[in-house]
Amino acid sequence: MTGSRLTFWSIFTLAGLWMQSFMPGVDFLAPGLILSLQEEKPRATIVLGLIWLLLQEGTGSLAFGTVVLWYGVLAALFFFGHWLFEAKNFLFMIILGACLGVLHFGLMNVMTQLQDWRVPPGRVLLESVVQAVVFPVQWGLAYIIYNHLPHNGQDV
């Protein structure tokens, strides 16, 4: 990974964490995972995914495992959708965002039930909608910025 890409991912992670503190319940690092799967080598994606996994699990309040499922299903959806759609298509990202919204609602309800906890369903639903809207927009911005990095001259 070049210096510019390293800087990009570092700033992306910091900005994502800051955004998450302003909009609780929404994952601002998930679009980075998809971008990394599209653009980076598998080893870099695994390292980034592990870092983000630890960050999300550490800051959350559910027992360990929720974010593993979250990122695991996201990666699986990407690979599955990769066969059907163009991987860098914005429409595909909108569908992926919608799937993430549904996944957030389902996963929160299942995991809190498993831990015998209760969460306000209205709040989780709102977070799911925001997640579905934020995901493609953030992916688009990150994709444009990434492809304007030095040594990354591609058609945007």
Partner: protein, 318 residues
């Protein structure tokens, strides 16, 4: 001839003063009419110039004053922020910890964070390095805020009492009515459960901790009763309450930590001086415990190996 005319005119003027008057009324007047507009013009020009110079100076002075005002505003904002911080910290310092408990201030650095934040939580800047443990009570000057859910070296996640998964045994301060205070989520207040129908609970009463759960010290204010009503065929009163703190305005909190009771030095001396009457296991008990472990708890004591006991010789003691 000329000299004669001059001297004659001079002498005549001295005697009569006509030429002087003529000169005064013509030359002086003319000069006045010539000089006055010039003076006016000069006054105006010089006034304009002075004002121009003054304005240039004023402009510069204005810029300097603007800079000073900006700096003063900045200092004022800083001073107000410091005053607000001092007020809040004074509130934290005014919290008197219960006996055998110590208090430590902590700053709230974030509220719910990330997709995994299902509960009503916030993050503070104190962790295991500062002695924070699971279930460490967190309070504000108004009352109980929550308890520590998880922690790292220098940060901790605190679950608030307004979370639906938070349940605290409380008692009303005035009528001593007991119940379990349960959160209902953000902006939804709290409910007091299992309050008997004939309980003399009143609206406006303060609910305080009982300490029965072993987490919070006894007598800390938690919430205020906002509504008491009967609901259908329920065996219990429907009691609504409001937390005493505002989660949105919370910037600093205090952590309560139990102080371990110091062992009095004379106790150790007394241990040496007095005979042992305690229920402490005597020496060798550990070995016997090991034996119990070896033979199993359900095994009868008769099965204990006999070689450990002093054997009596045949005929001895008879």
């Amino acid at each position: 001839m000329v000299l004669f005319v001059y001297l004659g005119l001079f002498t005549w003027n001295i005697r009569t003063g006509y030429v002087d008057n003529l000169a005064s009324h013509t030359g002086l007047e003319l000069t006045r009419w010539v000089l006055t507009p010039g003076r006016w013009v000069w006054t105006r020009v010089s006034s304009f110039w002075e004002r121009y110079v003054y304005f240039v100076g004023l402009r510069q002075e204005n810029e300097v004053l603007r800079d000073e005002l900006a700096r003063a505003n900045e200092e004022l904002v800083g001073a107000r922020e410091q005053a607000s911080l001092a007020k809040r910290l004074t509130g934290i310092l005014m919290i008197t910890p219960p006996p055998e408990w110590s208090r430590e201030a902590a700053r709230v650095i974030a509220h719910r964070l990330g997709p995994n934040a299902a509960l009503e939580t916030f993050v503070i800047d104190r962790g295991s390095r500062h002695g924070v443990e699971i279930n460490t009570p967190v309070i504000s000057p108004e009352g109980v805020v929550g308890r520590v859910l998880r922690y790292s070296m220098s940060a901790a996640t605190v679950i608030m009492i307004t979370d639906p998964n938070s349940k605290i045994p409380v008692v009303s301060q005035k009528t001593r009515t007991q119940g379990i205070l349960v959160g209902r989520g953000p902006n939804l207040g709290m409910s007091l459960q299992y309050v008997a129908l004939n309980a003399p609970l009143e609206k406006g009463e303060t609910l305080v901790t009982t300490g029965l759960e072993g987490i919070f010290p006894q007598g800390l204010p938690v919430a205020e009763v906002s509504d008491v009503s009967r609901e259908g065929s329920s065996l219990f009163l429907n009691v609504q309450a409001q937390a005493l703190f505002d989660p949105k305005r919370m910037e600093e909190v205090a952590l309560l930590r139990k102080i371990p009771p110091p062992r009095p030095p004379e106790a150790t001396e007394a241990d040496d001086a007095l005979p042992d009457t305690s229920t402490k296991r005597p020496k060798g008990a550990a070995e016997r415990k090991g034996e119990v472990k070896k033979r199993g708890r359900n095994e009868p004591p008769e099965a204990r190996p006999q070689e450990s006991l002093p054997r009596k010789k045949r005929g001895e003691g008879q």
